[in-house]
């Protein structure tokens, strides 16, 4: 089986779909000739031509708006917003237009568009290149949000997104583009080729949107997380020796509530972990779901570990970013709670 980085897996997903379906078009800032600043679309223009893979003006609202118009015609656009930090100019087009076309038109018009965007910190991007705005979108009716943590899922989720009849945002954790992350910024990152999750099948396959995966089985506590934080959780578990179950949500909306409930009922404790700011973050939704559905099974309060409620700082990035030490401290405290 081929070994791929997440970038290669994402590119392969677009390649597979473009080869299968003439209606798939790919565009965004710098994605054509140059192949994207992260090189995710490298080579696609050469292979499929400028009519199907092309650069766009620096105009995020225009990228998503044009994609909506193309989808109304019958195409299947897969667009790139260069950083999730720059998705805000396109916010109205996503939440007021793409998300609602089906609803407001009595299903006469739909917007089966895919919006790919690199998300998250750990790359010294500071407040304009490291944000995690996923909860702004999970609050919106009519748009799906997914976030892979490894190349296999990245390809499978992206193909599923491109085949989905509704708009899907694929948040791509850029800290994981080239390899998994052990949660420690001062250690060399390993390569996906040395990791079993770097095994990516050739050709077409999908990872179902709306299904979580159990990244690590455990009995003591459930950690609900996604993206880069899956590996931070893993490091914390190794370092504390606490037998935690790590649920990689993969899909934030729709959310795999059944998987969450099953795990928390088994372990009796729950931590939610993400790098986005804490207040009104996606962890709040997870904590509420667990409280509503698992209250009588809980042996300690649900704990949130998240980024602080500040903009993402550049120089203090590694203090902001939840690391294994912080997660470990909170895990130990949870286990000591009656």
């Amino acid at each position: 089986m081929p070994q791929m980085s997440m970038i290669e897996a994402i590119r392969d997903a677009m390649d597979v779909k473009m080869a299968e379906d003439d209606n798939v078009v790919v565009f965004g800032e710098d994605v054509g000739y140059f192949g994207g600043v992260f090189r995710c679309t490298h080579g696609l223009q050469d292979k499929y031509g400028k009519n199907r893979v092309f650069d766009s003006p620096i105009n995020e609202s225009g990228i998503v708006g044009a994609a909506i118009g193309m989808a109304a015609y019958g195409l299947r656009p897969c667009v790139e917003i260069q950083f999730a930090d720059y998705i805000y100019p396109a916010y109205d087009q996503i939440v007021s237009e793409a998300a609602r076309l089906r609803y407001r038109s009595g299903e006469q018009f739909t917007a089966p568009i895919t919006i790919r965007t690199p998300v998250g910190g750990g790359i010294f991007g500071g407040q304009t290149h490291s944000q995690s705005p996923e909860s702004l979108f999970t609050h919106v009716a009519g748009v799906k949000s997914v976030i892979p943590s490894n190349p296999y899922d990245a390809k499978g989720l992206l193909i599923a997104a491109m085949e989905d009849p509704d708009p899907v945002i694929v948040f791509e954790p850029k800290r994981l583009y080239n390899g998994p992350f052990d949660g420690h910024h001062d250690r060399p990152a390993s390569n996906w080729s040395k990791h079993p999750l770097g095994d990516v099948p050739e050709g077409h396959y999908t990872v179902e949107i709306g299904k979580a995966s159990t990244f690590r089985e455990g009995k003591a506590v459930t950690i609900l997380t996604y993206g880069t934080m899956v590996y931070v959780a893993e490091a914390a578990v190794k370092e504390t020796g606490i037998d935690a179950e790590i649920i990689d949500l993969r899909s934030l909306l729709p959310l795999d509530v059944d998987a969450i409930v099953e795990s928390v009922k088994k372990t009796g404790r729950c931590m939610v972990l993400h790098e986005a700011t804490q207040t009104s973050g996606f962890g709040a939704e997870l904590a509420a779901q667990v409280q509503e559905r698992c209250f009588y099974h809980l042996e300690s309060p649900v704990v949130r570990v998240a980024g602080y409620d500040t903009p993402y700082p550049h120089a203090q990035e590694w203090d902001y970013f939840p690391g294994p030490a912080r997660v470990g401290r909170e895990l130990k405290a949870m286990m000591e709670a009656v």
Partner: protein, 408 residues
């Protein structure tokens, strides 16, 4: 001691407020027939003069004059007049319906009927419109069922949009009418994407985008123009300059000196400024722009100069912000009256036929309204179950659970 006076900024004011006399002296109106008709493949720079004049075809005597008057089929004009009468009858009845409390909201297009109706007449089946909320003529000049429009306005059990949309925000894919958004200007860039898709697939369909003068200040207006400038897709941009964006006059919408048509020049998009109350001019220029786009020469922007006679909506009272007589003083007249006089002068129409047509359309709207009302008014008859459908193609678990809790 500073050499400079304290700085000031400028808040534009219209030429008249309530209590003032209407004043349109600033509006320069050239002679009908004086604007040239350029070649279909002209370069944008060659027609910059057409962005500052007003293309007019009908003169004061109701005659069609000048290069844009050529080759207009009599049937198009007769059908256009009837569609305008029908649209005005529809607007009047729907306004009454709102005043009776049978719907929450309505917006008339009084005085602007020629623009949507003549433009639609110049299109071919399959060309897609991306309208805003005052282009009911795009539907009412076709065979789209009037009753369905009223059902939508009433949000009743037969509402094609199942009570999810504000009244008048129609969607009619079968009649090349994109779903209308309440967020202003968002559809302008959709039209560009749709037109690009038509080109990507090697189709021959064009898109028409619609925006009001006020909405040209929105980001998506500029997104659309820059994308059209770059990719040159087959799209016609329509700016309906009806002088008022709710209570804000056009000087607030985007400065009081440059015309809206001139904005296209920075994008290398050819633009024309047209008398929107002159049905013949609207049809002729629309046909030119649509043909140019369909021949592969790229986008065109048209500013339709008109006047919003009616309130912005049923929630608006224009007597609070503009001279009371301003709408009747509009120097470019009424589109229905002007086309009527033109056709009577040519022996194609008569006062009797006009009165008869008005009566027939009043009756048609009355009957359609009565039938629609039998299916419920103000949301009556719609099902709360519909609220949960069509958020996604398939009902996801969380919505199924919420629906079950509601008991529907």
């Amino acid at each position: 001691m500073s050499d400079y006076e304290p700085l000031k900024f400028y808040v534009p004011e219209p030429t008249g407020r309530p209590g003032d006399e209407p004043d349109f002296t600033k509006l320069e109106i050239p002679e009908a027939g004086s604007a040239r008709k350029p070649a279909i493949d002209c370069r944008p720079q060659e027609i910059k003069d057409l962005a500052t004049t007003i293309i007019r075809v009908m003169n004061r005597d109701g005659e069609a004059v000048g290069p844009w008057a050529e080759d207009i089929d009599d049937g198009v004009l007769l059908d256009g007049l009837k569609a305008m009468i029908r649209t005005r009858a529809f607007d009047e009845r729907m306004m009454t319906l709102q005043r009776q409390g049978k719907t929450s909201f309505y917006m008339k297009c009084t005085g602007e009927e020629a623009i949507a109706i003549a433009h639609k007449a110049a299109q071919t089946k399959g060309d897609m419109n991306f309208p805003t909320y005052r282009q009911q003529g795009l539907l009412l000049s076709t065979d789209y069922p009037m009753e369905d429009m009223i059902n939508q306005i009433l949000s009743n059990e037969k509402d094609p949009l199942k009570g999810r949309q504000l009244p008048i925000l129609y969607s009619a894919r079968s009649h090349d009418y994109f779903t209308v958004s309440g967020n202003l200007g968002t559809q302008f860039i959709h039209a560009v994407g749709w037109a690009m898709a038509s080109a990507i697939k090697g189709d021959t369909k064009i898109a028409s985008a619609w925006i009001g003068d006020g909405s040209t200040a929105e980001n998506d207006f500029h997104s659309a123009l820059v994308n059209a400038s770059v990719y040159k897709p087959p799209v016609v941009f329509n700016i309906v300059n009806n002088q008022w964006a709710i209570s804000s006059f056009r000087g607030i919408a985007g400065g009081d000196e440059a015309t809206f048509a001139e904005r296209a020049h920075g994008y290398d998009i050819p633009s024309l400024r047209v008398d929107g109350n002159d049905f013949l001019a609207v049809y002729a220029v629309s046909r030119w722009a649509i043909e140019r786009a369909r021949r592969g020469f790229g986008p065109v922007l048209i500013e339709w100069v008109t006047y919003r006679v009616a309130p912005h909506s049923t929630s608006d009272d224009p007597s609070k912000y503009r001279p009371k007589e301003e709408s009747t003083a509009w120097p470019l007249g009424d589109p229905i009256l002007r086309l009527k006089n033109h056709l009577i002068a040519r022996g194609l129409w008569s006062e009797e036929r006009h009165a008869q047509a008005e009566s027939e359309y009043d009756e048609e709207v009355r009957v359609a309204t009565k039938e629609a009302e039998s299916h419920g008014v103000m949301g009556a008859g719609s099902s709360p179950k519909d609220m949960f459908e069509a958020v996604f193609e398939e009902l996801p678990p969380h919505l199924r659970e919420q629906r079950q809790k509601m008991g529907v």
